[in-house]
């Protein structure tokens, strides 16, 4: 008797918990089925198999949103505390999955076709055709070769940024002023910089940079006429905008260094040059590697200033892969081939960055 009176609330609670979990599971299941049914209907509608369906895919996006809400509510019902915890992660995860998975998968499909927005003959599969076109596309390979130079220019940016970080870390007056001023180029929009520097300061007739170059003895200061000069000009602009980023990271690294290290170097009688190479530089290696790798990853996306200043000229000498593909879309509407190039470039990037990361981390482990 006494046991019964004890257990009945427990049993009740347990059965309530079970029904709660069951309700949660049912909610998720129904929502998923509804979403799947809507998707299938819409696909069939677009293929012309069934008449029912929406004019566009917007309702499906809305359905995905509702499904996400139902999923969250269901998880809370089923898992309670763990469900609540999952709610923190779910919005970002579902958003990223929806925004990345579809374009990647669909991108693979586009890349396999001869899709041209201005062609009237429709879309056909054209994997081999795209691939052979790519192999024989001299402009694409030039652009890819240019990327090697652009990535190498990151090392020069790193050297300058390190110098600036050391200067800002020294005992100087008006440090705040210099820090703000040095950071400013990073804030400016690449498109505005394209005009400010590329199209006006470096302009052949009236630009102050051209005037200065004439004063220094270069009689025809055309910054974008010959391949190497043009590439160097683009690099200079790109460096101008990105050196602050590397500098900020290195400066933070320098400020995090323990003070005793510098003191002990001074006591040992090492001159600043030796102290830098023997002590500061090795200690800064991890930060340097982070900064350079981040910078390389961003450099691989370089496009805006090339599109707006040279449009890849002269003769593709300044083209980056991104700016080349951009023109393939914009000027030739060559969607299929452009996407093929983009996917190929993505594979190169992934391979390159993973090799870089593993080589660097192995090297760091050996050095430190």
């Amino acid at each position: 008797m006494s046991t019964g009176s004890l257990s009945s609330p427990t049993v009740l609670a347990a059965s309530r918990a079970v029904s709660r979990a069951a309700r949660g599971r049912a909610l998720i299941l129904i929502a998923s089925l509804l979403l799947a049914a809507l998707c299938v209907t819409q696909v069939l509608h677009n293929l012309g198999v069934v008449g029912a369906g929406f004019a566009d895919w917007r309702p499906i996006a809305l359905a995905y949103l509702l499904w996400a809400l139902a999923l969250g509510r269901g998880l809370v019902l089923v898992r309670r505390e763990r469900g609540h915890r999952a709610l923190f992660l779910l919005p970002a995860l579902l958003f990223t999955l929806a925004m990345v998975i579809f374009p990647t998968v669909f991108g693979l499909y586009i890349a396999a076709t001869d899709w041209n927005l201005s062609s009237l003959t429709g879309v056909h599969f054209n994997v081999l055709g795209n691939f052979t076109t790519m192999l024989h596309d001299a402009f694409f390979w030039t652009a890819l070769g240019n990327m090697v130079w652009y990535v190498l220019s990151v090392l020069a940016q790193y050297a300058i940024a390190f110098g600036l970080a050391l200067l800002l870390n020294a005992e100087i007056r008006a440090r705040k002023f210099f820090r703000v001023v040095f950071l400013l180029p990073f804030m400016l929009s690449p498109v505005a910089v394209s005009w400010m520097i590329g199209k006006s300061i470096m302009e052949y007739r009236f630009g102050p940079a051209a005037t200065l170059a004439r004063l220094l003895g270069w009689e025809t200061p055309a910054f974008f006429a010959t391949p190497w000069v043009a590439r160097a000009s683009i690099m200079a602009m790109d460096s101008w905008m990105w050196i602050p980023f590397v500098m900020v990271l290195l400066l933070a690294g320098l400020q995090a260094l323990p003070h005793e290290v510098a003191e002990s170097a001074k006591v040992d009688g090492a001159n600043p040059w030796q102290a830098f190479w023997k002590i500061t530089f090795p200690l800064m290696l991890p930060v340097s590697v982070t900064a350079v790798i981040l910078r390389i990853i961003f450099e691989l996306k370089l496009a805006d200033i090339v599109i707006n200043v040279t449009a890849g000229g002269p003769g593709g000498a300044t083209d980056t892969v991104s700016s080349f593909i951009y023109r393939e879309y914009r000027d030739r509407s060559n969607v299929g081939y452009g996407t093929m190039l983009a996917e190929f470039y993505l594979i190169i990037i992934i391979v390159f960055v993973s090799i870089l990361l593993s080589v660097v981390s192995r090297w760091l482990r050996r050095v430190t």
Binding site: D56, V100, L249, Y326, V335, I349
Partner: protein, 311 residues
């Protein structure tokens, strides 16, 4: 006596070396400040050039005048073409309407995306910093890596599929569409910054709140969030800057309605024979908000850039 001699002997070389050291210090100071001023000039000159050029007329441009009032008289011509000069402000001006529309689009897209990214990014970062997740074989580390790996995706890879996707979703040339792309773009950065911020907050604070009966969400909203606010501000400002400057997606995905300021600037650059003063005024207007942010909020930008990268 001998002590005195010793003192003198000790004193003289030190005296000489102090003079030498002072000379050396003077030299190194000159070098340091010289280098600092040179780079400050390199950083500031393009901005100075753009702002002053917006007050020039043709003669000042062709003759290479540099200093206002000294070698040229500032005129409002560039700003008048934008409809933003003092006497134009009272009149109606189609070019000003166009500019304000683009400016507004940029503000909506940048701020909207930054808000969304900071909200969902902070939530995810908190979850990743505090709880153990398991989705099949995926652990916290893999999920974090998944978010971070989005950073290496170049925009060109996503651009075309997005063009098609947005056409189907009727999101082409809408601000909502831009906000979604930009959110995707800055989300990894926000998660990176915020995960670092949350990890720096001691877990004991929440544990104390749990003892007092707070729920997971209650402890997060009432205890953790206020402490993490500076970090969130940093992430927000950095996101706004990145979105404000974005050009690639805006150029492909928007046309008449949702076109942003960088696309407007770029379309003006492309046309031949555009007046320099107008372009300069337009560029000035496009970079001025950022220059102001840079001057007044430098602390937060540096905090955002260095979070996670420096231990």
């Amino acid at each position: 006596m001998s002590a005195h001699a010793a003192a003198v002997a000790r004193h003289t070389p030190r005296h000489r070396s102090r003079a030498a050291r002072r000379l050396q210090r003077f030299g190194s100071h000159t070098l340091i400040y010289g280098a600092l001023l040179l780079w400050a000039f390199i950083s500031l000159f393009p901005i100075y050039w753009t702002i002053t050029t917006s007050f020039k007329v043709a003669v000042d441009v062709t003759q290479g005048h540099l200093v206002p009032w000294l070698d040229f008289e500032p005129k409002w011509r560039g700003w008048r073409a934008l409809g933003l000069s003092p006497q134009m402000l009272t009149m109606s001006s189609p070019s000003r309407d166009e500019f304000l529309l683009r400016f507004g689009n940029s503000v909506v897209a940048a701020v909207g995306a930054a808000v969304v990214a900071v909200v969902i990014g902070s939530l995810a970062a908190y979850g990743l910093a505090r709880f153990e997740y398991r989705f099949g074989p995926w652990r916290n580390k893999d999920i974090s890596f998944f978010f971070l790996s989005q950073l290496i995706l170049p925009p060109v890879v996503l651009a075309l599929p997005f063009l098609i996707l947005y056409k189907e979703l009727v999101l082409l040339d809408t601000k909502l569409g831009l906000i979604m792309v930009y959110t995707l773009m800055v989300l990894p950065i926000v998660i990176w910054i915020m995960r670092d911020q949350f990890m720096a907050i001691p877990y004991e604070l929440e544990q104390a709140a749990y003892v007092d009966g707070a729920t997971t969400w209650g402890a997060f909203l009432r205890i953790v969030l206020p402490i993490a606010l500076p970090g969130m501000t940093a992430a927000f400002i950095l996101s706004v800057i990145l979105c404000w400057n974005e050009y690639f997606f805006a150029a492909l995905l928007t046309s008449t309605d949702a076109k942003t300021l960088p696309v407007m600037v770029a379309s003006q650059t492309g046309s031949q024979g555009i007046d320099w003063w107008t372009m300069a005024a337009l560029s000035t207007a496009a970079i001025l908000p950022l220059v102001l942010i840079g001057i007044f909020l430098e602390r937060y930008i540096v905090k955002g850039l260095t979070a996670g990268a420096i231990k």
